[in-house]
């Protein structure tokens, strides 16, 4: 690929999604953008770059950005963040919101929906404690294709075996074909998915008590990580919780958050919880 084409395409992707592509990742651009070129009736990445220089085609730019996202996800990814949700965060929030009986949870890079549905399944497990509560779970992602997949809630046999206990498969999924499983309506209805870009103004999304923003900041450069974390800080309740992925941190990135001692991947706003929180039960 020509240097100027790489520069054009990688700059576009970085501006639109935050994804940093170093020159060693040129092969990734080529393999992922070739199908986009084909879809738009072009023969090569050179043509693609040429078309962008000629005209800022919104659909084309969207397709390029979407094609460059990495969407891998699985149910109960890393387990710990979900045990933490069930044993620590939820009990703490149930006490803190006892008067309002309303909780809002955001899966901020939801991909094909596994993270948000995992949280919904935990809520279903805890249904007895959530009697009379309103729990909003919102899943957002930049990728339209992923948002549509998440809404459909249909997963391959391979996907339902990664991280998902078989008892949950039996309880919360319907087998719709030999190797396709769909999340049951009662769980599906607990989650709303929509398209949203973490780099853009979040708009009237409301405030959240719990934010899962996992395995997406790793793709961004430092200033972008800081900007996104800051924006998340703006829409969180003062006593809210933030969960990041295993390779992500707020340290040295954004001082609005501090890690919760002893709980890897769990953060709160810097002013909150001088004493820390304790696991219940």
């Amino acid at each position: 690929m020509k240097q100027e084409d790489f520069d054009l395409l990688s700059t576009l992707v970085r501006q639109r999604s935050g994804l940093v592509l170093t020159p060693e990742k040129a092969y990734l651009l080529e393999s992922r953008l070739f199908p986009v070129a084909r879809k738009h009736n072009m023969k090569s990445l050179e043509d693609l770059a040429q078309a962008l220089r000629a005209r800022r085609d919104e659909t084309l730019m969207f397709d390029i950005t979407e094609a460059m996202t990495t969407n891998e996800s699985f149910f109960f990814r890393d387990q710990k963040p979900f045990t933490l949700f069930q044993k620590t965060i939820l009990p703490q929030m149930l006490a803190a919101r006892a008067a309002k009986k309303h909780l809002r949870i955001w899966s901020a890079a939801a991909s094909s929906g596994q993270e948000a549905y995992s949280l919904a399944m935990v809520c279903a497990e805890e249904a007895a404690k959530l009697q009379g509560w309103k729990i909003d779970i919102i899943g957002t992602d930049l990728s339209r294709e992923m948002v549509n997949r998440a809404k459909a809630g249909i997963y391959s046999q391979f996907e339902v075996q990664r991280g998902l206990p078989v008892t949950y498969l039996v309880k919360y999924f319907t087998q719709i074909a030999g190797d396709k499983w769909q999340i049951k309506d009662n769980i599906r209805q607990m989650v709303q998915y929509r398209e949203a870009n973490l780099l853009a103004d979040f708009g009237p999304i409301g405030s959240f008590d719990i934010v899962y923003c996992r395995n997406v900041l790793i793709y961004f450069d430092l200033p972008t990580k800081g900007k996104v974390l800051n924006a998340i800080g703006n829409i969180m309740t003062p006593d809210g919780f933030l969960l990041l992925g295993g390779a992500e941190t707020v340290l040295g990135v954004c001082d609005r958050f501090k890690p919760m001692p002893g709980e890897h991947g769990l953060y709160c706003l810097s002013a909150a919880y001088p004493q820390g929180v304790k696991a219940v039960g």
């Binding site: 075996q161 008892t167 087998q175 190797d179």
Partner: protein
């Protein structure tokens, strides 16, 4: 060392599974049907059993029911690993005392994930 009994009538599958389990620090024994596996369990109980369903002589389900009757036979974690991929089979397996269920084809990630859920990975 943690011990694993791999029960499958396919030598190829046993070999693949063995490699995965050995890579995560298990000592493995193999059995080509439920009967051989049950005899092995009467001598010494493994901590973990990876269990095929359809096998000659004695199938996986029969083995599991017999295992759970043995003294201490409730201890081993048993994970089915079979091409049977419908809800009825899964429910029957869980009803007979299986701890987890893998639908073939499987890979190292799936096995590791299931072990992690069962608290058998460190």
């Amino acid at each position: 060392m943690k011990t694993c009994l791999i029960v499958d009538d396919s030598r190829v599958i046993r070999k693949v599974a063995r490699q995965i389990f050995e890579s995560i620090g298990y000592a493995c024994t193999e059995a080509e049907d439920g009967k051989v596996a049950l005899d092995a369990c009467k001598t010494v109980l493994p901590q973990f059993v990876l269990l095929d369903w359809n096998m000659p002589v004695m199938n996986g389900l029969e083995f599991l029911r017999a295992l759970r009757q043995l003294p201490g036979g409730d201890k081993p974690s048993v994970v089915f690993c079979t091409t049977e991929n419908d809800l009825n089979h899964i429910q029957e397996a869980l009803g007979a005392g299986a701890n987890e269920y893998i639908m073939k084809p499987f890979d190292a990630d799936i096995i590791r994930g299931k072990l992690e859920q069962l608290g058998l990975l460190d």
